[in-house]
Structures are given as structure tokens and as C-alpha cells.
């Protein structure tokens, strides 16, 4: 994201496209803000904030790990809400479907990062890359569920079919995830091996550490919004290309018939 494409914004009627890419003044501003947020987070997370009393330096990973997890949950929540709106609104506008798809894609990205970084953090604090902790297991489950969702989105068929199928699947995910989380939590409470190796994962954060975490959430939210806006516009452009292709094809077929 270092250099955003400079594009002239003069628009001509349906002449040859003068603007390429999906950037506008607003997204460039948002992108810049996101970059500032990242630099700010890195500076505070790696530099200024103090080490934790018992976790020492590895708490710095949490400033990235926790926000990416929260934003992933937010992304999937947006997907579920957008899917619900698409299904139950009278207009069934495809914009909501594209928002659901874009948000799910960014959610899977963030969830993947959360799992990888979580493993790194687990290695430092728990000494193991993977721990059958209820939260971690549910996170992995959500990751797989939404990869399935993205697969279903690519199944083809008309835009409406894609939209309806994905929306129903997203709402089913809302049904599944609490169920799985609940049963995994019950399952884990059975085998709570309270070894000394496993201090409580949640560090008590205050002062500068809490502030850094807050910066992390802001940075990730800005990134999320920037990514979803661009991804959604790209999907809109792809759909428009299909539709434009449709008009061209109709014209061709009519011509072919004359």
C-alpha cells in the first residue's frame, strides 16, 4: 500500500474508461490513515510500551494478535448481517451480497493471521504452537467454516444464485459457531490441565499497554474498512463486467439474428 495509484478523476460519459482502479479521494485518505495507524502500532507495540511483569516481551505480540482476532469476528459479523439484509430485504440488492463476500474474505485473512500469530505467541508463553484452548479451537473452526463459505461463493451460476446460496450459508454459520464454541468450551473444561506451564492467557493490561492495544484496534479497523471497500468495488466491477458482457451478448445475438 506504499504508493496508491494516482488517477485523474475527470469522468467522461460512457467513453473509454479514464479512471482505473477503485481508488477515490476518500479511500486514499483512509489508506493513509491506515498506514499511520500501522506505523504508530509498530512503534508503540515494539518500542515504547513496557514489557509485561510475568510474560515479559511476548506481550508485544498481543497488540497484533488480539486486534486481528477481534476484527476477524467483526468481519464475520458484518458478513452475517449483510447476508441477512440481502435475504430479507425486498430489493435483494447485490451490494449487500458483495459486502458479505468482501467482508468474509478479509475476515478469513485476519483469522488466518490470528491463528499463525497465536501459534507464535503460544510458543513463547505456553511453550507449544497449538493448545486445545476453547477460544483457539473455535477460531480454527470459524476459519475452516468461512473457507467453505468462500468456496461456495465461487460455485458459479448467476449472481442471484451465488448471493442467495452464500447468504444462507453465512446465516447457517451464525447458527453453528455458538454451538461449536459452547461444546468446545464444555469439552475443554473437562481437561483443564492446570499445569504451571499455562498461566492465564489474558494479561491484565493497563496504562500504556492498554493504550497500545487500543491503537492496534484502530489500525486494524482502518485496514479492514480500506480492504473491504476496495474488495467490494472490485467485485462490483467484476459483476458489472458480467452484466456489461450480458448487454453486449444480447446485442450480438440480436445482430446475429438480423
Amino acid at each position: 500500500m506504499a504508493s496508491l495509484p494516482a488517477t485523474s478523476t475527470t469522468t467522461t460519459p460512457t467513453g473509454p474508461p479514464t479512471t482505473t482502479g477503485t481508488s477515490t479521494k476518500a479511500t486514499r485518505l483512509l489508506g493513509a490513515a491506515a498506514i499511520v495507524g500501522i506505523v504508530w502500532l509498530a512503534a508503540f507495540g515494539l518500542g515504547f510500551s513496557p514489557a509485561d511483569v510475568n510474560q515479559r516481551e511476548s506481550v508485544r505480540i498481543l497488540y497484533v494478535h488480539v486486534p486481528s482476532a477481534w476484527l476477524a469476528y467483526l468481519a464475520f459479523f458484518v458478513t452475517a448481517v449483510a447476508s441477512g439484509i440481502y435475504l430479507f430485504s425486498k430489493k435483494h440488492s447485490l451490494g449487500w451480497d458483495r459486502l458479505a463476500g468482501a467482508s468474509a474474505e478479509v475476515g478469513v485473512l485476519f483469522m488466518g493471521i490470528t491463528l499463525v500469530v497465536g501459534a507464535l505467541w503460544g510458543r513463547l508463553t505456553w511453550g507449544v504452537f497449538w493448545e486445545w484452548d476453547a477460544r483457539l479451537t473455535s477460531t480454527a473452526f470459524m476459519f475452516v467454516t468461512y473457507i467453505g463459505y468462500l468456496t461456495v461463493r465461487r460455485l458459479g451460476g448467476s449472481h442471484e444464485q451465488r448471493a442467495r446460496r452464500s447468504a444462507v450459508l453465512a446465516l447457517l454459520a451464525v447458527l453453528e459457531i455458538p454451538l461449536v464454541h459452547w461444546s468446545v468450551k464444555l469439552w475443554r473444561s473437562l481437561h483443564q490441565d492446570a499445569t504451571v506451564l499455562r498461566p492465564d492467557g489474558d494479561v491484565k493490561m493497563n496504562g500504556l499497554m492498554l493504550f497500545t492495544l487500543f491503537v492496534g484496534v484502530i489500525a486494524f479497523t482502518l485496514m479492514y474498512m480500506w480492504l473491504v471497500i476496495h474488495r467490494q468495488r472490485t467485485m462490483a466491477a467484476e459483476d458489472a463486467l458480467d452484466d456489461a458482457g450480458l448487454d453486449l451478448a444480447i446485442a450480438d445475438r440480436k445482430a446475429e439474428h438480423q
Binding site: S158, G245, L246, A249, I250, R253, H257
Partner: protein, 215 residues
């Protein structure tokens, strides 16, 4: 004359991003046997699937059996029988079991089901045989018997003569004439121009996703 069974105006239907139907208009009255002629890929099959309420219209309007294709597609589906190259049968079940199953979906009585089997000449030794072991013609007749048992009012047949021998085709024509005579309406998409020509009350050409010739 009561309302036409099928009224399509400027219908556009899309397969993926390809306009299989690009502005087709057509009117079909009750009791007609309409032949849809046209090269492969002209949109005959799509036209049938649109009339059957299966494929939504991307543009244009359509009314089938008094139901609007935009909002009442389920109502259309219940009263229309669409038969493509696949018969929609359960090959492990017998002829009688298939017809009884399809009749039961609309609550048909046993007499109706027996009548449907008789009409298609399936009441004899064929009835208990699993459909898997029947010839193409006998399977086609079983599928038609299921349409009759299901009280379909509009028959949409896609290449029904394909794969049938001479006797099979004659039986099929007889069945279609009988169906039309008893108040059903038939639309046939076919390549067999000379055979279907004699069967149809009207021929319509489908070219490049549009209907040409007498509306």
C-alpha cells in the same frame, strides 16, 4: 377463448452471463401443440425452462396458466410438466412405484394413477419392472405417465423423440395428441422437423434467443 396458457413478452433469461433468451415473445392457447424449431443453442431449452417457472427472467415479462413468472413461479411449477433429456425417475424403483410416487405428490387417487399407467400402456408386465431395466422409449413413457398422474396442464417437452425407435415415436405422438385433446397444452422443442411437423398444430422458430414467425 379463455386466457392464453403462455404469454411471454420480451423475455430475457441468463445462463451465467450468456443471454440464452434475448427478448423472446410468444403466446400459446390451451389445447395447442406448438413445435419450437431452431438450431442447437438457439434457446429452445431455455424457453421451455422459463415457461416452466424454473429460470427467472432477467428482463421482460411472462404469464403462464394465469400466474406471473416474476412472483408466482411456485404456482406455475405445480401445474407444469417439464421433461428434458433426463426423465426424473428413480431407476431402482419399479414403473408402478415411480408413477404412484409422482401421483402422490399431488394426492392423486389410485384410479387416477392406474388410468395414467393404462394411457401409456404400462399397466401390463412392465409395471413391476425396475425402471433401470427398461428401454429408452419405455422410460420416456413412464416419465409421461408421471406427468399425467401429476395432473400437469402444460407439457414442456425437450427433444422427446430423441432415442426412440419408430414404434416409440408413434406411441409418443398418440399420447401427445390425446393429452392435447383432453385439455392439456403441449410445447415441443425438437429437431425431428418432418415428424414433429405433422404432430404440431403450429410451428415457431427460435433463433438466437428470440422467437420468429407467427407469435
Amino acid at each position: 377463448m379463455d386466457r392464453p396458457v403462455v404469454e411471454l413478452t420480451g423475455a430475457v433469461a441468463v445462463l451465467g452471463s450468456f443471454p440464452a433468451l434475448a427478448g423472446a415473445s410468444l403466446v400459446v392457447q390451451r389445447g395447442e401443440i406448438v413445435l419450437l424449431r431452431g438450431p442447437n443453442g438457439a434457446g429452445k431449452t431455455t424457453l421451455l425452462r422459463v415457461c416452466a417457472g424454473l429460470l427467472p427472467l432477467a428482463r421482460g415479462t411472462g404469464v403462464v396458466l394465469g400466474c406471473d413468472l416474476a412472483t408466482e413461479r411456485d404456482a406455475v411449477r405445480r401445474r407444469v410438466g417439464l421433461l428434458g433429456h433426463r426423465n426424473g425417475l428413480y431407476l431402482d424403483l419399479s414403473v408402478a412405484e415411480n408413477v404412484r410416487f409422482w401421483g402422490a405428490t399431488v394426492g392423486a387417487t389410485d384410479d387416477e394413477i392406474d388410468a395414467a399407467m393404462d394411457r401409456l400402456g404400462l399397466s401390463g408386465r412392465l409395471a413391476p419392472l425396475p425402471v433401470r431395466r427398461l428401454s429408452a422409449g419405455q422410460q420416456r413413457r413412464t416419465a409421461l405417465a408421471c406427468l399425467v398422474a401429476r395432473r400437469a396442464e402444460l407439457w414442456l417437452l425437450d427433444e422427446p423423440h430423441a432415442g426412440l425407435d419408430a414404434t416409440g415415436r408413434d406411441e409418443l405422438d398418440a399420447t401427445l395428441r390425446q393429452a392435447a385433446a383432453s385439455g392439456a397444452t403441449v410445447m415441443v422443442a425438437s429437431h425431428e422437423l418432418e415428424r414433429a411437423g405433422s404432430l404440431a398444430t403450429r410451428c415457431v422458430d427460435v433463433v438466437a434467443g428470440q422467437v420468429v414467425g407467427p407469435r
